[in-house]
C-alpha cells in the first residue's frame, strides 16, 4: 500500500485513489451514501471503516480525509 501512495505522489492522475485516500464527499460521490441504518454503537460507515483500517495498517492517510473524522486522529 505504501507503494501505491508513493506512486500516487509521483503521478497523481495515474493511480486510482483508494477509499481511504478519498474524502467522505469524494467517496460518497463515487460509491453512494451509507446504506441501511446501522445500529452498532458509534454507527458505522464504510468510508470511515476504510480510513480506520488504513490507519491501523500504518498507512499515510491524507490530512483532508482525517478532517472528516476527528475521533480517528489519535490512532
Amino acid at each position: 500500500m505504501d507503494d501505491i501512495t508513493n506512486e500516487q505522489e509521483r503521478s497523481p492522475g495515474k493511480i486510482e485513489k483508494q477509499p481511504w485516500q478519498m474524502t467522505k464527499t469524494e467517496y460518497e460521490a463515487k460509491f453512494g451514501a451509507p446504506r441501511g441504518n446501522s445500529t452498532v454503537t458509534g454507527n458505522f460507515s464504510k468510508h470511515k471503516s476504510s480510513v480506520e483500517i488504513a490507519l491501523n495498517r500504518g498507512l499515510k492517510v491524507p490530512q483532508e480525509v482525517l478532517e472528516d473524522y476527528p475521533d480517528l486522529k489519535d490512532l
Binding site: T41, K46, S49
Partner: protein, 893 residues
C-alpha cells in the same frame, strides 16, 4: 467430581487429556452423560495432543506457520513504561488446533467424518441437522471466544489464499444473536483492530516467507451496509434479525430463543430494504464461512437462523461451491432438552475456567447464613423477600468498598419475576438504602426476554438509552450501581463488575435458561492477570436450587458466611494505610530517587559488526542425502521444540532468504531489538556464507539449508550474534542524573493473589506480602528492629527499577526487594536471596553503582545497600539492623 489434583492453575498450561474434567459416576447415575460431555471431544483431545506433539505433522505449511506464530512465538506488548508478553489461553489454542487438525489432517467434509471420533457409540447421523461442515467450540463465558473467532477467520483466509485446493474461504458472515453481542464483536472488529493492532493474529511480513499483513486485505460490512467490491476479503458482521435470505423466511413465535433483550427490529419481509439480503451477498461471492457467536440459538432446524444458513449453503451449491464451514462458538451449546450439540469439537468447561481464574469464583451463603433468611408472609413482593434483598445489598456494599479502592465500581444485579415487581423493587431499594438513591437501573423485558415498546411502555429513544446505560454501567461516569431485570441477560451483556447476584425468581424448564447463563453475567473478570475474584450469589431457595444444579457440571460452589459482620471475599488489596490513625505516614514514608538510565543500546553500531572477528568455533559442514534434505526442521535451541519448518517443493528450490530471515528475527526477538533488521540480515548472510563453517559455502542449496537446521549450527549463529551484538551495542553512559523522585505514599492501590501477609506497623502500606517465606520473615525482623523507622517491599506498583546488563549481556531491569529507612537521611536498599541466580553478582554490582551515583549527585539522603542471603539470615540471629549491615558484607567491596 472435583478436578484432577494435577490440574494446573495457569490457563496457559497445556492440558493433558487425562486430567480434563469428566463427570463422576454418581453424577452419571442422575444425569445423562450426553448432557455433560460432548461425545466427540475425548477422542479429539487425544488425537490433537498427538498432532501438537508431532509439531503439527501433516498440517499444511500455512497452518503450521500460523500455529507456530500464535502459540510458540513470544509476543511482546508494549505498555507505558514496560513491556509484557501476550499469550493465548490453552483453551483458545486447543480450539484452533482441533479445527485445523480436522480440516488439514483428517480432511473432514461432513458429519460422517466427524462421527468417527465418537467412542461412546451414542452418536448417529440423524443427530446432525445440517449437510455442511459444522464445528462447535464450547468455551466458558469470559474465556475469550472472540479471539478464537479472529484466529479461525485469519486461518481460513490464509489457508484459502496460500494452499492449493483449499476447502476454506476468504469471505465471512459473522452473526450475533442480538445487538448487544453485535456491539461487542464490532468493538473488536472495528478498523480490523483485533487483526492489525490489538492481538498478534497476523504474523509480520516475511515470517516463514509470506507477506501476511500485506496479503490480509479485508473489507468490513456491518448489518445491511454492504457494498462488495471484491469477490474475496469480506467480513459481513450482523445480528440475526437483520438477516434474511430472500425467501420470505419469517421469524416464528418459536424463535423466542433468538430474540432476546435489546432487540433490533424483527426480520422484515422481502419488500423492505433495511436488511442484509443474503441472496445478494451470495450472488457476488463464491466462497463463504459462517461464524455464529453465542451460537446456542442455532440448534433448531425450524428457526430462521438455521434456515438462513441452509439457504446460503444451497445457493453456493448452485454455483458449484458450498459453505466452507459453519463455526459456532458458545459457552452453552445445548438443546432444549439439555443435550450438548453433537458437533462440539472442543470444550473448555466452566469448572476448568473457574479453577484457572479465567472467570470469577461463584460464592454462595453457607448453611448458618441461609438459616437467617425467611420469606415473609406478605403479598408485597419487596416485603416478602426483604431478607434476601437485604443480604444482597450487604454483600454488595462490602464488595463496593473494597473495589472502590481500585477505582472499580461493584454492581448489584437482581432478578425478579415480573415487570411490576421490577419497578416496586427499584423504588424499595432507592428508598431504603441511601447509597442506592438514583442508582438503580431497571430493564423491562417480556417473559421471553424481549424488550419492546409494548413490554416496557418506552419509546425507541428510551430503549436505546437503556441499552447504552446497560453497556456502560461499569464505568465511573455511569450513576448506576444496581440493575434489576425480569429476565436474566443470557449472553452478550459485557458487564464485568457484577459482584453480587440476587435471584428472586425460580427458573423452570419453560424458561429455557441454563445455570451457567444465569451466573454468566457475573462471571467475567474485573482485573487482568491470574487474581482470584468472586461473585456472591444469594436468593430464594428455588433460585439457589437452580443455581446449585451447576454442580453437576463439576463446578464446586464455595460456601461462606454472608451478612453483617462477615468479611468480603474480594481480591487482596494492598494500599497506603491512610485510614490508620496510629501511623504517621510522613515519618514512615520513604523517598526514592529515579535516575536516568545508564545502560542503553547504540543501534547504529550494528554496522560495525565484523563477522570475520567473531572468534567462534567453526561448525562442520556435512553432506546430507537427498531424503534428509527434503524436510528441514528448525528447533528451538533451548527447548528442542520445533519452531520452523521448511519443506522443499517438488522442484527442490529453496529460498535461503527465508532461512536467513528466520535467524535474523530470532536474534532480534531474543535481544528485543526494535530496529536494524536490514543491517543484521546482511551480517547474518555474510557470516553463514563465509565464517560459520570455517569456509566459503554456497547459500542457495538444500544441503546448506539442511546444515543450518542442525542444532549446533543454529545455536552457533544465534548465540554468537547475540553476544557480539551485546558487546558492541550495549553501552554504559558512565553516570546518571536524578530524573524524579518516588514517594512510597503515592503508590496506587493494587490487587494481589491470596497469599500470606503481615500487617505492618512500620510501613506506609496496609499489608506486606512476600514472594517467598524469606521475605515475610525478613519483614517480621524489620518490624522488630528498634533502629528501623520504616520499611517497605518494593512492589511493582512502586515502579522502582534499575537497568543492568545481565549474564547474557542483555539490558534488563532489576527490582530490588526492600527499602529500609533508619534515619531521615539514611536509606538502605536490601536484596534478599534464597535461590541461586547467575545475575545476582551483576545486579549487586549495578546496585552498588547506583548508590554511588546517587550519593555523588545529592547529599540530602545517603543511600546504601545490603545483600541478605537466606542461609546466613536463618543461621545468624541479628539483634538489630545495624548489626546486619555490619555483618552482611557480600558485594560491598
Amino acid at each position: 467430581m472435583a478436578l484432577h489434583p494435577n490440574f494446573p492453575e495457569s490457563p496457559y498450561a497445556i492440558l493433558d487429556p487425562t486430567i480434563r474434567w469428566f463427570p463422576a459416576d454418581e453424577t452419571l447415575r442422575n444425569t445423562s452423560f450426553e448432557k455433560l460431555l460432548p461425545p466427540l471431544v475425548p477422542e479429539l483431545r487425544k488425537q490433537v495432543k498427538k498432532f501438537r506433539d508431532s509439531g503439527y505433522e501433516s498440517a499444511t505449511q500455512t497452518s503450521k506457520s500460523l500455529l507456530n506464530w500464535w502459540f510458540k512465538t513470544p509476543h511482546l506488548v508494549q505498555k507505558a513504561d514496560s513491556s509484557s508478553e501476550f499469550k493465548y489461553f490453552f483453551s483458545q489454542r486447543e480450539a484452533l488446533e482441533t479445527i485445523i487438525y480436522l480440516v488439514d489432517v483428517m480432511k473432514v467434509k461432513d458429519k460422517y467424518d466427524l462421527i468417527r471420533f465418537d467412542n461412546s457409540g451414542a452418536v448417529s447421523a440423524n443427530m446432525f441437522d445440517e449437510t455442511w461442515k459444522r464445528f462447535v467450540v464450547k468455551m466458558a463465558t469470559g474465556a475469550g471466544k472472540t479471539k478464537v473467532i479472529s484466529l479461525a477467520l485469519a486461518w481460513s483466509f490464509f489457508h484459502k489464499l496460500y494452499e492449493e485446493n483449499s476447502p476454506m474461504a476468504r469471505n465471512f458472515l459473522v452473526i450475533a444473536p442480538n445487538i448487544i453481542v453485535l456491539d461487542r464483536i464490532y468493538k473488536d472488529f472495528q478498523g480490523l483492530r483485533i487483526f492489525l493492532k490489538d492481538d498478534p493474529v497476523l504474523p509480520h511480513d516475511g515470517f516463514d516467507g509470506r507477506e501476511w499483513r500485506s496479503d490480509f486485505q479485508m473489507d468490513l460490512h456491518i448489518q445491511d451496509d454492504v457494498h462488495v467490491t471484491s469477490p474475496v476479503g469480506n467480513v459481513f458482521l450482523t445480528n440475526i434479525h437483520r438477516v434474511y435470505s430472500g425467501n420470505d423466511i419469517h421469524a416464528s413465535p418459536n424463535d423466542e430463543n433468538s430474540m432476546d433483550y435489546f432487540l433490533g427490529p424483527k426480520p422484515a419481509n422481502a419488500t423492505t430494504d433495511s436488511n442484509l439480503d443474503l441472496s445478494k451477498v451470495v450472488r457476488d461471492i463464491e466462497e463463504l464461512m459462517v461464524i455464529n457467536d453465542e451460537a446456542h440459538h442455532v440448534h433448531d432446524p425450524q428457526n430462521a437462523w438455521f434456515k438462513s444458513i441452509q439457504d446460503i449453503h444451497n445457493r453456493l451449491q448452485q454455483k458449484g461451491t458450498a459453505l466452507s464451514l459453519q463455526l459456532d462458538v458458545t459457552a452453552t451449546p445445548k438443546h432444549a432438552n439439555g443435550a450438548i450439540f453433537v458437533q462440539t469439537i472442543s470444550d473448555y468447561p466452566l469448572v476448568e475456567a473457574i479453577k484457572q481464574n479465567v472467570v470469577k469464583h461463584p460464592l454462595v451463603p453457607d448453611g448458618p447464613s441461609r438459616a437467617k433468611l425467611t420469606e415473609k408472609k406478605s403479598s408485597k413482593f419487596t416485603e416478602k423477600y426483604s431478607d434476601y434483598i437485604n443480604l444482597g445489598v450487604i454483600e454488595w456494599r462490602k464488595a463496593y468498598e473494597e473495589h472502590l479502592k481500585l477505582d472499580k465500581k461493584a454492581i448489584l444485579f437482581i432478578m425478579t419475576d415480573d415487570t411490576k415487581n421490577c419497578d416496586d423493587l427499584a423504588e424499595y431499594l432507592e428508598n431504603t438504602y441511601a447509597d442506592l438513591k438514583g442508582a438503580v437501573l431497571v430493564i423491562h423485558t417480556k417473559n421471553n426476554g424481549e424488550i419492546s415498546e409494548a413490554s416496557s411502555g418506552k419509546n425507541k429513544e428510551e430503549l436505546d438509552r437503556l441499552r447504552e446505560q446497560a453497556n456502560t454501567i461499569d464505568s465511573a461516569e455511569s450513576p448506576y450501581k444496581a440493575i434489576i431485570s425480569v429476565m436474566v441477560l443470557r449472553e452478550g451483556w459485557d458487564v464485568r463488575n457484577v459482584t453480587t447476584i440476587v435471584g428472586l425468581r425460580a427458573f423452570t424448564a419453560q424458561n429455557n435458561i441454563l445455570p451457567e447463563q444465569a451466573l454468566g453475567r457475573g462471571l467475567r473478570k474485573m482485573y487482568p492477570g491470574n487474581i482470584q475474584e468472586f461473585v456472591s450469589i444469594v436468593g430464594t431457595p428455588a433460585f439457589m436450587d437452580f443455581v446449585e444444579s451447576i454442580q453437576q457440571e463439576g463446578v464446586e460452589l464455595e460456601r461462606g458466611p454472608m451478612g453483617s459482620g462477615s468479611q468480603p471475599r474480594t481480591p487482596l488489596v494492598v494500599e497506603i494505610d491512610s485510614e490508620n490513625k496510629k501511623k504517621d505516614l510522613d515519618n514512615l514514608d520513604i523517598e526514592i530517587p529515579i535516575m536516568t538510565p545508564r545502560i542503553y543500546r547504540e543501534y547504529k553500531n550494528l554496522n560495525n559488526l565484523d563477522v570475520t572477528k567473531f572468534g567462534h568455533k567453526p561448525v562442520g559442514y556435512q553432506d546430507f542425502s537427498d531424503e534428509e534434505q527434503r524436510e528441514i526442521v528448525f528447533k528451538d535451541i533451548t527447548t528442542g521444540n520445533i519452531t520452523h519448518t521448511t519443506v522443499l517443493d517438488a522442484s527442490g528450490l529453496i529460498d535461503f532468504n527465508s532461512v536467513a530471515g528466520y535467524f535474523t528475527q530470532s536474534i532480534m526477538k531474543d535481544l528485543r531489538l526494535v530496529s536494524g533488521y536490514a543491517i543484521l540480515y546482511g551480517k547474518v548472510k555474510e557470516f553463514i556464507s563465509s565464517q560459520l563453517f570455517g569456509k566459503e559455502i554456497e547459500l542457495d542449496t538444500p544441503n546448506t539449508v539442511r546444515n543450518l537446521s542442525e542444532v549446533e549450527a543454529t545455536r552457533t549463529i544465534i548465540e554468537t550474534f547475540k553476544k557480539k551484538i551485546n558487546d558492541l551495542t550495549v553501552q554504559d553512559k558512565g553516570d546518571a542524573e536524578i530524573r524524579d523522585y518516588i514517594k512510597l505514599r503515592n503508590t496506587r492501590p493494587f490487587i494481589a493473589k491470596e497469599q500470606g501477609f503481615i500487617v505492618p506497623k512500620k510501613s506506609v502500606f496496609n499489608k506486606v506480602i512476600g514472594d517467598s517465606h524469606l521475605e515475610l520473615e525478613f519483614s517480621t525482623f524489620l518490624e522488630e528492629c528498634e533502629d528501623v523507622i520504616s520499611y517497605s517491599k518494593n512492589y511493582l506498583a512502586v515502579h522502582f527499577k534499575i537497568d543492568y546488563v545481565n549474564a547474557d549481556g542483555d539490558i534488563s531491569n532489576y527490582y530490588p526487594d526492600f527499602f529500609v529507612k533508619v534515619a531521615n537521611n539514611e536509606v538502605y536498599i536490601v536484596e534478599t536471596k534464597g535461590l541461586e541466580d547467575l545475575d545476582v553478582p551483576l545486579k549487586m554490582f549495578r546496585l552498588k553503582q547506583w548508590c554511588e551515583d546517587i550519593n555523588r549527585v545529592q547529599k540530602k539522603i545517603k543511600y546504601d545497600f545490603v545483600f541478605v542471603d537466606q542461609e546466613s539470615f536463618e543461621k545468624y540471629e541479628m539483634k538489630n539492623f545495624k548489626q546486619m549491615v555490619e555483618n552482611f558484607r557480600e558485594y560491598k567491596d
